[in-house]
């Protein structure tokens, strides 16, 4: 059959080759996109890196009129809000993962897991609105004001938790909202990792008389080990680059304040606020900020994926 229709056969082969090429090209597009993002940032940020050198990273200036730019405030804001988020989210999400895999009655497991995952699907702008209009006023009245008054005059803590104007927005608020946002992400990865541990391992620990907590603490967590660190870093990567939720609640100030109650800004929030009105060196400075954010998140995400993948393969 095939031999009698050489033209038909040729078409089949060409179709197959086309299919292979199209698949390969699509796969390469993923690489191109990632490289393109880096290239766009580097190319756009280059004039600023050249003009300010390493001073760009350590300077707290952000004077658009005089064209003096430094990334320090945004970098500090990015890291401090993301680290606060991680400190809040990590214990909560590990506890949720343990509850979902070890403790919950099986009738509750699936609905609860679904609810936590839906929390991850809610767009970040909703978290931002909730943070600004619902959380921030309560936070100002019931946390910022009393705590700020309580610690006033104390060394160190009196500075860290000092609120000049208790408005509810600030670096700590941003960290808390980010923390809420990354809980579902960390919890669902951690849950997958705990689920992958063979039941026999768990059961033998129970068999020698361990309590549930001892099984979790001494058997499951060491088994899941590095992958749980990977899950946490995945959450950290998300928190570092999150834009909308932070922009609503961080206050968007270019001030380097030692107090967590004071407004600040992150790289992403500064991009969101200023990018559309920027031109000239200001635009280059924003792209340079983007470049720094890209490098930071890239490193964190690569580490996270390596840690998670190593366990998944084992």
């Amino acid at each position: 059959m095939i031999a009698s229709h050489p033209a038909g056969r040729r078409r089949v082969i060409d179709g197959a080759r086309f299919f292979r090429l199209a698949s390969l090209a699509s796969a390469l597009l993923v690489l191109v996109a990632l490289a393109g993002i880096l290239a766009a940032m580097l190319w756009g940020g280059w004039p600023v890196f050249r003009a300010f050198g390493s001073g760009f990273v350590v300077s707290a200036d952000w004077d658009i009129g005089r064209e003096r730019f430094g990334a320090l405030v945004a970098i500090v804001g990015t890291f401090s809000s993301a680290l606060i988020a991680l400190v809040i989210a990590l214990p909560v999400s590990l506890a949720i993962a343990v509850f979902l895999t070890q403790l919950a009655p099986s009738a509750l497991k699936r609905p609860l897991a679904t609810a936590i995952e839906l929390l991850a699907a809610v767009p970040s702008i909703i978290y931002g609105m909730w943070g600004l209009f619902a959380f921030a006023p309560l936070f100002a009245r019931h946390v910022q004001m009393p705590v700020s008054e309580l610690v006033e005059g104390m060394p160190i803590i009196g500075t860290i938790l000092h609120a000049r104007v208790p408005s509810g927005v600030g670096v700590l608020t941003a960290g808390i909202i980010l923390g809420i946002m990354i809980v579902p992400l960390i919890a669902s990865v951690a849950r997958d990792m705990l689920d992958q541990i063979p039941t026999a391992v768990r059961e033998s620990a129970f068999g020698i008389g361990c309590t549930t907590w001892e099984v979790v603490r001494h058997v499951l967590v060491p088994q899941a080990g590095a992958s749980l660190v990977g899950a946490a870093m995945l959450g950290l990567g998300r928190a570092l680059g999150e834009t909308m939720a932070v922009t609503f609640v961080i206050g968007n100030a270019n001030r380097l304040s030692p107090s967590l109650f004071e407004p600040g800004s992150t790289i992403a929030s500064r991009l969101a606020n200023e990018f559309n009105e920027a031109d000239g060196l200001h635009l280059n400075a924003l792209l340079a900020l983007g470049c720094i954010l890209f490098v930071i998140t890239f490193v964190i995400l690569v580490l996270a994926r390596l840690l998670i993948a190593r366990v998944a393969v084992r």
């Binding site: 197959a16 699509s26 690489l31 839906l118 929390l119 931002g128 907590w213 998140t297 890239f298 690569v302």
Partner: protein, 295 residues
């Protein structure tokens, strides 16, 4: 394991106080886990409740038929923003679906264990969690600056870059679940590799791939940051040429929520409710689709 055995040996000889301490620690930690989960559910409930209450207040027929009002003018709706969002999301998913499915197919079926496939697989996971605002900046440099204006096309491309890794991942995972005996049966009948993939593997993994596409749609329809520098926003109905700013729901919500006008703020909440319902419905539909397939 040996350490655990040692613990067990010492447990038998343990005094009653140690047993009690272990039991108390167990209770406390169990309760902490329960409390953390309850906290998660309560916060989700609180956020959804607030969006529902504030959003319903802004609901009216005008919301779905009138365009966004200008600064200071009364009334208005979000019809143009909803339509624009729908167009942008469809554009994004329309580009991302073929690219994502083909790339996922390459990773699962064609690339095999090659170094290129491993690299793409790994970097796809990184792109999946890359900050979406940087994708907006990238598309700004790629399209908006050369073309000289914000455009719906740029917005669509930005959304496509966000959706693609989701679809790549889902496609690869789902194709890997297809038993290889199916492929071998096809190959034994003389079907070409492309034929085996399109008629057998894709068909078997259809529900899973569709789930991935639905989840990608849910993800991009709430994305705000990548649209800020690409599609931006507009107060009128979208221009079918998609040149110039295109009204869309997330950016409208962002601008209206932070505005001083009361009717704008009400519209922002109504829009937040619409978008949340849409995304939750999509996510639940995707989950049901996969569950039905799994059963």
């Amino acid at each position: 394991m040996e350490a655990t055995l040692d613990t067990a040996m010492s447990i038998r000889a343990a005094p009653p106080s140690l047993v009690r301490r272990r039991r108390v620690a167990d209770r406390v930690m169990k309760f902490a886990c329960l409390a953390a989960t309850a906290l998660g559910v309560v916060v989700l409930g609180w956020i959804l409740l607030m969006v529902a209450i504030e959003g319903v207040r802004g609901f009216s027929t005008a919301l779905f038929i009138a365009p966004t009002p200008g600064p200071g003018s009364a009334g208005g709706g979000l019809a143009n923003a909803m339509l624009g969002s729908l167009v942008l999301s469809m554009l994004g998913i329309g580009v991302a679906t073929p690219v994502g499915v083909l790339a996922g197919t390459y990773l699962a079926e064609l690339g095999g264990g090659s170094r290129l496939a491993a690299t793409v697989r790994f970097l796809n996971d990184v792109l999946l969690s890359a900050p979406s605002i940087l994708i907006g900046v990238f598309v700004y440099a790629l399209m908006v600056r050369p073309m000289g204006s914000y455009s719906g096309w740029a917005g669509g491309v930005a959304l496509a870059i966000i959706a693609t890794p989701v679809i790549v991942r889902a496609t690869e995972d789902m194709l890997r679940l297809v038993p290889s005996s199916l492929r071998e049966a096809g190959a034994a009948l003389g079907a070409s590799q492309a034929r085996v993939i399109t008629s057998i593997a894709w068909r078997a993994a259809r529900a899973g791939i569709l789930t991935g596409i639905l989840l990608a749609t849910a993800r991009i329809s709430g994305e705000t940051a990548p649209l800020l520098f690409t599609a931006l926003n507009n107060n009128s109905w979208f221009d079918p040429s998609l040149m110039g700013g295109v009204a869309n729901l997330p950016v409208t919500i962002y601008q209206f929520a932070l505005s001083p006008y009361e009717n704008w703020q009400a519209l922002a909440w109504a829009g937040a409710l619409v978008i949340t319902l849409f995304i939750l419905a999509l996510s639940i539909a995707a989950r049901l689709l996969l569950d039905r397939k799994a059963r």
